[in-house]
Subunit: 655 residues, 2 copies
């Protein structure tokens, strides 16, 4: 168990419990305490001075703190590691009374993480093992018993294991004679169960001796950018190894459209198929080595990806996906042999491909719906996977509707002046002093800032809006008394870090254009949800919960996302995060055939809406191009906070 | 219609109707009229002189006939072509009266040929089309209709063609998008029907436009020596093209055992698989070109072969077939893709492989049982496929038993001093003058003799035995007044043709050792039948009919085969010949799924007897090492003929 400590921040008089070794500045950020800091936590700006009033911290000393101040208990918050209970005073403007301090506290909340495993499936009655191993000892043939090898195996399974309706594939027939005679007709058969009871059980592999304890599968998420794989123990449901890598198709185009364009060239489709198979094979190799399993003990691989990634993987030309009326080749694919699509797995391994709903709501989303159990739940759920394209599913066990909307690349740092992917040096957290308008920046890796990632962008915009630095159109209050607000080439911006504090020797700023792009992106998603809800006769108020999927959902500050109107306002307890939903769905399908049984009906019944062809979408979109929305009444808690702040502070100070 | 003419032979006063253009000597042979002839019909020995007494023939003149004799009507029978009704006098020994002549007449009878076709199947209620083509016109997608291509196709078939439980293979998904858009969503789908109603119909191909009239399949017999293929029109059941070629595996061993030995070598199995696929591909290419069909219109290929040939074709190592207890890998094989075994057919073509019963009763025999309809018939039937190995099936619609016996190569000319395959120059027909013991020889191609083929050997032995040139032990009556009987190196032989009359410049003779080998071969087969019948509590007398299969059955003289005791004595009307039964079965399976439905049960219920492990086999074998058998009572008609001849001729003349 991790040791935790209690920190009390003064004058706010706010307590927070943190893990041993946490820095004071991150603790303050989590507690909603602003401490000026613009170097991202690297300890160079020297602004994050705090006073240790009781207890002690490790480190926190710097030449920027004079010996006298050191004696008084001054430390740099970003360099101070919490090793015991401690009371910390944050020097603040005297003009702010504690009631203001308290009101500025909106606790940082990321979504609750939900993981499902084999026991959940068993408890829910959803467990239908897809691949089973059976150890058997067969009688040896002799002059009275000439049964063919296959008949010997099949009859024994029929008589002694109640296995009927068995089929045997040619590769198994090929290896059976030698395998039987390797260990005196004692063998382990791998049985692939049918999805439906009317189907047949296929003997997909035979091994000499007893290998029944070693039964594995692979789950794979084929993302446009990244591919993740897991090696799963089918006996326990445990993930034995996991690895991710960039999809090597990136060299042929960053997004799905450019991949489709490439696939239409002579030999392009074959090339893209080959390189994605190579990436998958690299991952397979790594996770097999990592988990130390025998490749022959792997029975199946389940793959989930968006519609284009799926078609490229299966060498099905995706050309009509990008042409009106945007029709995919298929949404369902039959089980195939993994080797047939160039995967470096044994002959007997079955490849199962997640079905899709449409050209833009693919197998990755369906995997999320299945893996999260959304399709079995009574609660009305909003499922969102946010990236360049945001896919939305709304529904419950009785009905499901889905849509995709193009959010643009803002959440991944695209179209943002200093935007970057969520990597080391990206500003990921932000706070603002409502009197001095000085910032508090946290970067990934606590190094000097290089740029702004998607989650940082959302937090900044939310904080700036709530404190009045920007208005509900995303425009700066140009009258505020801070040098950080300035006009550069006709564009207003707020300087987050001065050149000397950065890694890039340029001032890092957030511009009104950046904010505009973010508003467009969140507007597209929110109006997508609105439109979809309206199409099914519902409203945001009817939602029982939200499921967030994708990397984005793991770190986004829920309250901030609601503040800018990206997410509808809902009790954060009702928001759950399921991580890589595509991988989760692939994993769950590896563990039970129940999902494969249900998924056909789910994809068939899921209504797919083309937002661009839905009349109300444009109206909803225009209405969503505000912070948080034209209709503030949809965000009652934010409305209340804004009103409280206004009454405490009065209108934003102008001098 | 062929023009026919009537020939009357004198002094026998026997009439026969022959086709226009037939030679007089072949007409005589068919009528059971002996005319001395030892050059095979080439016209060089000049022995076959006859007198045209009425009517006329074309040709028949030779320098061996003097102008005076020509005037008298003398002609060489082998050079005389029948072009009108004619009366011919054969000069015979005056010692023979006409009653003898009449008694020596045993009409030449080959088995009645039975062919089955699509109409027979339909009439018998056995028609379940295995591959159907459906032409459909689909609505084109638009902004209101985004159905994926596969869904569009499948839904339409469901709604408008009552097609449920459809599956679509990956290759079809790959081609569908382009095919749909080639001819405005008008396509023809090829549907592969399930064997059992519980199965699914698979869409295995789609083609632009209406190709529903063009639906073909291939049937292939994979023989150890020869491979035959047929291209079949599935609409009409007609055979559009047929071709045979030597199995290229011959270079790696003449018989199955040597092939198995080769397959056990490093890379041997792969090599044998490759070369048999190459032979098949050569045949496929030829019959496709011959029939002028588009390869894309071929839906399936059905292959039948013995157990070893089947395993080699499917790259299943046959090593345990030749090792006690002689166990095959499998007797049933799943449908596979033709391309997966290296066949030069379209991606979508399904390869169906005939199931076997055991290591030595293979798919070729099962194909015969299925194709002949034996398994559905009430009559107790003996089915025989005679070659180096003879396979025997006895039974009817209620039960089936089978066995294989090694006959040795005598029927194919092996182990016979002047033995040869049935090729040009092989003595294939024979008659003997019971006074002078001069022979009448017919060769394949009517050229000077080169050797003796299997059917010739049987006829010679039968004729010699019936006329008393050899006794029931196969030994020559050494006292007979003919130079043709002689001892050479301690072995007695009968000279069929003197060196000058042959192509090989050596006397061609039949030796006692040759006859001994033939008796062993026929003894093995007959005792196999006896043993099998005894095992199921039956005897030869219970047989309702005999079905002969294989090339051998097409030309064997039935009466002669009964005379030597190769076949049980039965009304020749009850013997039918079905040709290449393996090919017939493959063809019938291509036409209806009913056979595939039934065959699993047939192979399962067919009792296979290992003769070498059946106690009574050796006794039966020893009893069969006589002409026709120790127990002449089993051959009542022959017994009667022998008695009649004895009373007419007295014991064979000794001088």
């Amino acid at each position: 168990m991790t040791t935790t400590h209690r920190i009390t921040f003064l004058p706010h008089n706010r307590e927070i419990t943190v893990n041993d070794g946490e820095t004071l500045i991150r603790a303050a950020m989590d507690a909603g305490i602003h401490i000026n800091a613009s170097c991202g936590g690297e300890g160079v700006c020297g602004k994050c001075r705090v006073i240790i009033e009781a207890g002690a911290v490790e480190g926190g000393l710097s030449e920027q703190i004079s010996p006298a101040d050191r004696e008084k208990g001054y430390r740099l918050a970003c360099r101070s590691m919490v090793t015991g209970d401690v009371t910390v005073r944050v020097p603040v403007e005297s003009a702010i009374d504690s009631s203001v301090l308290r009101q500025s506290y909106v606790p940082r909340r990321t979504a609750r993480i939900q993981q499902k495993d084999l026991n959940d499936l068993k408890e829910a009655g959803l467990f239908l093992p897809p691949m089973e191993k059976v150890y058997i000892e067969l009688p040896e043939p002799d002059n009275q018993d000439h049964l063919p090898d296959v008949t010997r195996l099949v009859s024994h399974l029929k008589l002694h294991h109640d296995e009927h309706r068995l089929t045997v594939s040619l590769p198994v027939i090929r290896k059976l004679p030698d395998v039987l005679r390797k260990d005196r007709f004692r063998v382990t058969a791998t049985l692939a169960r049918p999805v439906f009871e009317s189907g047949k059980t296929e003997i997909i592999n035979v091994q000499a001796g007893d290998t029944s304890e070693r039964n594995y599968a692979i789950a794979m998420d084929i993302g446009t950018t990244t591919i993740y794989g897991q090696l799963i123990d089918l006996k326990s449901g445990a993930v034995l190894a996991e690895h991710g890598d960039f999809n090597a198709q990136i060299s042929y185009g960053e997004d799905v459209i450019s991949r489709i364009v490439y696939a239409e060239k002579e030999g392009g489709l074959e090339r893209l198929q080959q390189v994605v198979a190579e990436t998958i094979n690299t991952i397979i190799k790594k996770i097999i080595r990592q988990a130390k399993v025998d490749p022959e003990d792997i029975a199946a691989i389940t793959l989930a990806g968006n519609t284009t990634m799926t078609q490229l993987l299966l060498k099905v030309n995706p050309r009509y996906i990008r042409r009106s009326p945007y029709v995919p080749a298929s949404t369902l694919y039959p089980p195939i042999r993994a080797v047939d699509i160039g995967l470096a797995l044994d002959d007997h391994v079955t490849a199962l491909v997640y079905p899709a709903v449409s050209s833009y709501v693919g197998g990755d989303i369906v995997a999320g719906v299945m893996g999260s159990g959304l399709y079995l739940d009574e609660r009305l759920t909003l499922f969102m996977d946010i990236g360049t394209n945001a896919e939305i599913v709304i529904g419950n066990k009785d009905w499901l509707a889905c849509a995709a909307c193009s959010a643009g690349p803002a959440f991944e740092g695209g179209g943002i002046k200093f935007g970057m992917r969520a990597a080391k040096g990206a500003i990921e957290d932000f706070s603002l002093d409502p009197i001095t308008w000085e910032p508090m920046l946290m970067t990934i890796g606590s190094v000097r800032p290089k740029g702004i990632c998607g989650s940082g962008l959302i937090i900044m915009t939310a904080v700036m809006f709530e404190l009045g630095l920007i208005n509900n159109l995303g425009k700066f209050n140009r009258d505020l008394p801070t040098q950080r607000l300035r006009e550069d080439n006709g564009v207003w911006e707020y300087v987050l870090a001065w050149a000397a504090e950065t890694q890039i020797d340029r001032d890092i700023a957030l511009t009104e254009i950046d904010i505009e792009n973010l508003i467009r992106a969140k507007g597209a998603i929110f109006s997508g949800c609105m439109t979809l809800l309206a199409e099914v006769g519902m409203s945001m108020q009817d939602l029982d919960r939200i499921i967030l999927a994708g990397g984005f959902g793991s770190y986004v500050d829920l309250e901030k996302a609601m503040t800018i109107g990206l997410l509808p306002e809902i009790d954060p307890e009702k928001v759950i995060f399921i991580g890589n939903s595509s991988l989760l769905g692939a994993k769950m399908s590896s563990l039970t055939n129940r999902i494969r049984r249900d998924v056909v009906e789910v994809t068939r019944s899921m209504t797919s809406f083309e937002l661009s062809e839905t009349m109300s979408f444009m109206d909803n979109y225009v209405a969503a191009l505000f912070l948080p929305h034209t209709d503030l009444n949809q965000f009652p808690r934010l409305k209340e906070r804004l009103a409280a702040r206004r009454s405490a502070l009065g209108p934003p100070q102008t001098a």
